[in-house]
């Protein structure tokens, strides 16, 4: 990316080099297409083509079971969605999920990254153990959580019983089911934001902290006046990727609660899945998928604009 954005002079040089391509280099042009062919062709077939279909089907009465879509129905899939209480519920659940999971994951990740920023004995081990939940398969770890949270033999309920709390069906009662899914996702995501923040913190020149320390700033003050503003681009990056991946949450919901109780943990992707492969309402499924996609794109664009404005403000 950065290479593409370099000065016009470099581009001019490259253009001149292109003008003096030798015959053998031109022959290699063909090889270039061959080399990108596997990636490009497979992506078009299994990604861009289904994407185009999703958009198209969202305006039809497509049935994924029969493969038939015999009528263009205009916007009726979309108007149906807006009136479907199940869709509204899924949207609200997803919104709550994103609004809690993303900031908490970022904040806790940054907290541990800052704690582990300076070398001390055992630092690597702590970092590794906090990171592990992020790479372990979700089905496996979600099953472990379903055991920990179980009213039967679960340690969380046992710990609560010490305070006289009666066993809670965390995964089968409202609002605990959604809370459990949220806590699980934060637990899983903290390790990732921690290592990304660690890399960002390591890039801050130590002299900044040194100077502030000499001026009498304590660790907390230094964190909020130096580290936090300087990792802002990382926060932006993690916020975008976090929101986009949280919009697609499925596996932990499927394993922990199955979308229940009474759809209280049903998320947008869960809704798309059910409409498409349980009820075979391909049109509604596609319309919901398109809305999901638009949300993701909107978030990326907004975030990029905010970041760009901040950068120009700082420069100016």
């Amino acid at each position: 990316m950065s290479e593409e954005a370099v000065l016009p002079a470099a581009r001019r040089v490259r253009r001149r080099a292109a003008a003096t391509m030798t015959a053998s280099q031109r022959r290699e042009g063909g090889a270039g297409y061959l080399l990108i062919a596997p990636t490009t062709v497979l992506l078009v077939l299994f990604y861009l083509y289904p994407l185009a279909q999703t958009v198209f089907y969202s305006f039809t009465n497509w049935n994924p079971a029969t493969g038939r879509s015999d009528a263009l129905v205009g916007l009726s899939n979309y108007t149906h969605l807006v009136r479907d209480p199940q869709f509204l519920r899924a949207t609200a659940n997803t919104a709550i999920y994103v609004a809690v999971v993303v900031p908490c994951t970022l904040a806790i990740g940054l907290f541990f990254a800052a704690m582990l920023a300076t070398p001390f004995r055992g630092r690597g081990v702590y970092r590794a153990l906090i990171f592990v939940p992020h790479i372990a398969p979700t089905v496996g770890t979600a099953l472990v959580f379903s055991y920990l949270l179980s009213p039967l033999g679960g340690v969380v309920n046992y710990a609560l019983s010490a305070f006289g709390v009666a066993p809670i069906g965390f995964l089968t009662t409202e609002p605990w089911a959604l809370v459990s899914v949220i806590v699980f996702s934060i637990w899983q995501g903290v390790g990732y934001s921690m290592i990304i923040y660690s890399a960002a913190l390591a890039n801050i020149p130590p002299s900044y902290h040194e100077a502030a320390r000499l001026d009498g700033a304590g660790p907390v003050r230094r964190f909020f006046s130096i580290s936090f503003p300087l990792v802002a681009p990382t926060t932006g990056f993690l916020a975008i990727t976090g929101i986009i991946s949280s919009l697609q949450v499925f596996t932990q919901v499927y394993v922990l609660t199955g979308g229940g109780p009474l759809q209280s943990t049903q998320t947008l992707l869960f809704y798309v899945y059910e409409q498409g492969f349980v009820y075979f309402h391909g049109g509604s499924a596609s319309a919901a998928a398109v809305l999901l996609l638009l949300c993701g794109i909107l978030v990326s664009v907004l975030q990029l604009r905010v970041l760009a404005r901040r950068n120009t403000a700082e420069l100016g």
Partner: protein, 278 residues
């Protein structure tokens, strides 16, 4: 050093370790609990108050899981799918990354920008027509269906492109003057040089493919082609919801390969994730 001064130095250190130990209990404790439970009998796993260490170390959950479900087959399926998809991702990404970095052809920038834009579209958005397409191809419940749609990796192409861009051109020029053709140059000169990049990407891709539940869940409906993740999720659904000894043995088996890879390649994995993705 005077006593109060030493204390003042020591106190923050103790506080730091205390906080971090609580963190380890929260983030890593569940794995320890999972492993210990997998050695308990099913009734002990449900006992109240719970036991920490098993009364009696039993392995029958591990024996049982291979009889209540074809878990050996799931393991084989996961291994085949993960190894081949990872291999495919490496080869295609290396080739594409090299071409985007080093070769000149019409439309290179346009194609690359389109791919980068496609990175914004998560696979989850397009799955309904994708599964229908795979079904028309007869690829549901098949290895090719589980593997081939996962082979193209935009991230991989992007990472290899960055790698080759940061690489000096002299060696290539030398081998070009020596008369090595493009294929020779790519596979016997450049690919070996890219070994560190191949290593990090292979680890990343292994973890991704092994854990890839949602896609595998959509493509398989018959247990003959279930992967470990799908098989484990189905196991929970089949009236085993409270057989935690069995489920924890299954989770342990599902998690172990990734843990081993992480233990051996921790540094590469972390640097690939923290450096590579940006």
């Amino acid at each position: 050093m005077s006593q109060p001064l030493r204390l003042r130095r020591l106190a923050p250190n103790v506080a730091r370790h205390a906080i971090l130990l609580v963190a380890v209990a929260i983030f890593f404790g569940p794995f320890v609990w999972m492993l210990l439970t997998s050695f308990k009998s099913s009734s002990e796993a449900l006992s109240f108050p719970p036991t920490f260490l098993p009364h009696e170390w039993r392995f029958d959950s591990y024996l049982r899981i291979f009889t209540v479900a074809p878990f050996g087959l799931y393991y084989l399926n996961s291994t085949i799918v993960t190894v081949l998809a990872t291999f495919g991702q490496i080869v295609t990404s290396l080739a594409a990354g090299y071409a985007f970095a080093r070769m000149r052809f019409r439309g290179r920038t346009v194609i690359f920008v389109v791919l980068l834009a496609a990175l914004m579209v998560p696979f989850e958005v397009v799955f309904t027509p994708l599964v229908t397409l795979l079904s028309q191809l007869g690829w549901l419940n098949s290895y090719q269906g589980l593997i081939i749609p996962n082979v193209p990796s935009i991230l991989g192409a992007f990472l290899f492109r960055q790698f080759f861009l940061s690489f000096p051109t002299e060696i290539e020029d030398a081998s070009r003057i020596d008369g090595a053709g493009i294929w020779r140059r790519l596979w016997s000169v450049m690919a070996p040089m890219a070994r560190p990049m191949i290593g990090s990407f292979a680890i990343l891709s292994f973890v991704y493919n092994w854990n890839n539940f949602f896609f595998q869940f959509l493509v398989t409906t018959r247990s003959r082609y279930y992967t470990v993740q799908v098989g484990l999720a189905q196991l929970q659904g089949e009236n085993n919801t409270t057989d935690f000894g069995l489920l924890m043995a299954g989770s342990t088996l599902a998690i172990i390969p990734v843990m081993i890879v992480f233990l051996i390649f921790q540094r590469q994995l972390v640097s690939a994730m923290s450096g590579g993705l940006r």
